[in-house]
Subunit: 446 residues, 2 copies
Amino acid sequence: MSIRLVDTYVAPFVAENEYAAIQPMVTAAHKMLTDRSGLGNAFLGWVDLPRDYDKEEYARIKAAAAKIQKQCDVFIVIGIGGSYLGARAVVEFLKSPLYNNLKKDTPDIYFSGCNISASNMQELLAICEGRDVCINVISKSGTTTEPAVAFRVFRELLEKKYGKEGARERIFVTTDRSRGTLKGFADKVGYETFVVPDDVGGRFSVLSAVGLLPIAVSGVDTDALMAGANAAREAYADPDITKNDCYKYAALRNILLRRGKTTEILVGYEPFMQMLAEWWKQLFGESEGKDGKGLFPASVIFSTDLHSLGQYIQDGMRNLFETVISVKDTGATQLIPNDPENIDGLNFLSGCDLNYVNGMAQQGTLFAHVDGGVPNVVLELADRSAYSLGYMLYFFEKACAISGYLLGVNPFDQPGVEAYKKNMFALLGKPGYEEQKAALDARLAK
Amino acid sequence: MSIRLVDTYVAPFVAENEYAAIQPMVTAAHKMLTDRSGLGNAFLGWVDLPRDYDKEEYARIKAAAAKIQKQCDVFIVIGIGGSYLGARAVVEFLKSPLYNNLKKDTPDIYFSGCNISASNMQELLAICEGRDVCINVISKSGTTTEPAVAFRVFRELLEKKYGKEGARERIFVTTDRSRGTLKGFADKVGYETFVVPDDVGGRFSVLSAVGLLPIAVSGVDTDALMAGANAAREAYADPDITKNDCYKYAALRNILLRRGKTTEILVGYEPFMQMLAEWWKQLFGESEGKDGKGLFPASVIFSTDLHSLGQYIQDGMRNLFETVISVKDTGATQLIPNDPENIDGLNFLSGCDLNYVNGMAQQGTLFAHVDGGVPNVVLELADRSAYSLGYMLYFFEKACAISGYLLGVNPFDQPGVEAYKKNMFALLGKPGYEEQKAALDARLAK
């Protein structure tokens, strides 16, 4: 077991009979998922992906990653939402949030096409100057504005720099298996392509080619990542929440929400967990934030944010709970030097490992926040390995599905994401949006 | 005016008489602040700081920054909470979140002492290898665990690398004016020191030496930053919310909170705004999150997070509102290349500037979110200049003070931050915490 749910710090806030009361609902949700009888059942490809992934494509991903590592200094990954968060989360968690600042024998990796910022694009172009570049564009349709624009810019850059022939060897396309203009174009020009599976939504796609190619380029052991996910797939097959921590987490989220805890804060104690928290926020926020419902997902990195949002969590409005990811073995060691002058009064810590101090900060914070009225669910993660991370990614994916069914939503759609896009297209004058444009122009003129 | 509050997208959610009803309370809060008769009145040094700052010290800051720029490749800033968020927010906003990855004639700047992570420390040490280093330790007392430990590590590094004499020229200390062990030690050894003012809390300290030295090292025009802040100081002196957008923002926050909007999401449309949002979260979360009260501060960067939390905001629980910072002139230009193949169908945008598209994304999102039931307060910022940013920092500081008084809290204390520290010290066996340690050990043994 790479993950253990510790309920000591949530127990004071949940009555025993609440577990009993929600168990039949969890069992029903489990049945919906395994029968594929629930809402959104066309998007359950992630469930068995860690076992049933396309082995031929997986081998091509590894080969492409090796080729990219050899060919370039800078690897530009173009995608938005689920097409960038998973890969970035894994690279930062397993390598470093400072990955691009550290010496290494793998390329720098930058993410583009996930905003509409002119300054960000200008900076990425400056970073590419005088360096060898490969790109991976990730877009199911090829028509999403942000990645499409970035693909135009970087394709132009590569074709100018290497010619059309040379660029062809440096452009990797992750898109629909057969449909869509991007797939058609890639096949015509001869780019190597990988598949955004039809039955895996963006936020569940980290273990498909969407996430795996950039992850492999960073040098992460993708075999271990997939093995961990598959171990979690096997581990969380029993609907009984006394035996299934994944389902217990899903149950606790719903119990606490119904008690008025409307915000869930994901807590990490290491900077390498920040993008994982962003991935988690998309996973849960987009899966559950609909029909006027859903826990609001927020995140903090302690002890940093104990000196920021810490005050609020300790003593502000009591409508929140925390889910703490506690990494038992971080794999790094840093001893605290002795100071003969002892100007900070910390000589009682001389020679101690920072991990020990961080652990006590965590334990002290658990006590403090529980005393302050904040339930804390603790998820102990064995270590900072690809295996354990794969395990955790799957843990959250499955917990999210069960939790969404308990909440009474379709955890696999995202109808609300279209609203801004339609307005934007209309305002930009996209052909076909004439009527909506007239309506919005009239609102603007008021 | 560098900032303009647009109330078009909050108007559907607020009745006219609510403004009238809250005006006397705003006037009372204004009086508490100007009379210095409110709670926390020992910490109002920030109010006139943009005019009354120590000119002699300010000149020394500039000289030290020039010396640091000449002496080093890597500048390590050691501090936590308010001792790092302000500087980092300003450097990222005005320079870039990719500042350390871009070519430039100023040193790389890394922040340390703001976590207890062994891996982060190891990475920073690796980054320093073979490069010239200066450090700035920022700690009022010198005894806060995180920065104290980092100072031990980096002082050791510098003394090994340059000797005690050489290190003395590379260590800059921002601390109490006269008290504290760090001040005593710095004076004894001969480090140049700068002042953490007694009457300015950490989260209000960005325009003191705390923020200004690192900001100046990055090459930001601190004169313009201070001038902008001072212009805001002069602009927001009238208690009438029809004439004072700063106070109107404070009033709106409280009106919306009382209507059940318990979470405020700060929205930016540029990656360079992310750390500004973190600064803002500390400012408001720590000032207002107490006595069981306060808006929960969250943040997103669009369009990135429209593909993450966007679904929730559009269609989830309706207990939130957004405050959008809209930068009118971002100072960068990026035209969208034409694609003869038009594979993405976006040729209607060929030749358009990304800023234009970003603006339409913003306008489209405002309509969509308001239609979805989310009030949107829009703060238009003139441009991405040091002057305008200084103006905005002061805008938020003063709005925070007024808002905290409207809420009925002391906006200038942070009693809740101590709780985890006391527990941590007890668990770590710090001398003097024996009784608390026994109590916590007993809880752990249960």
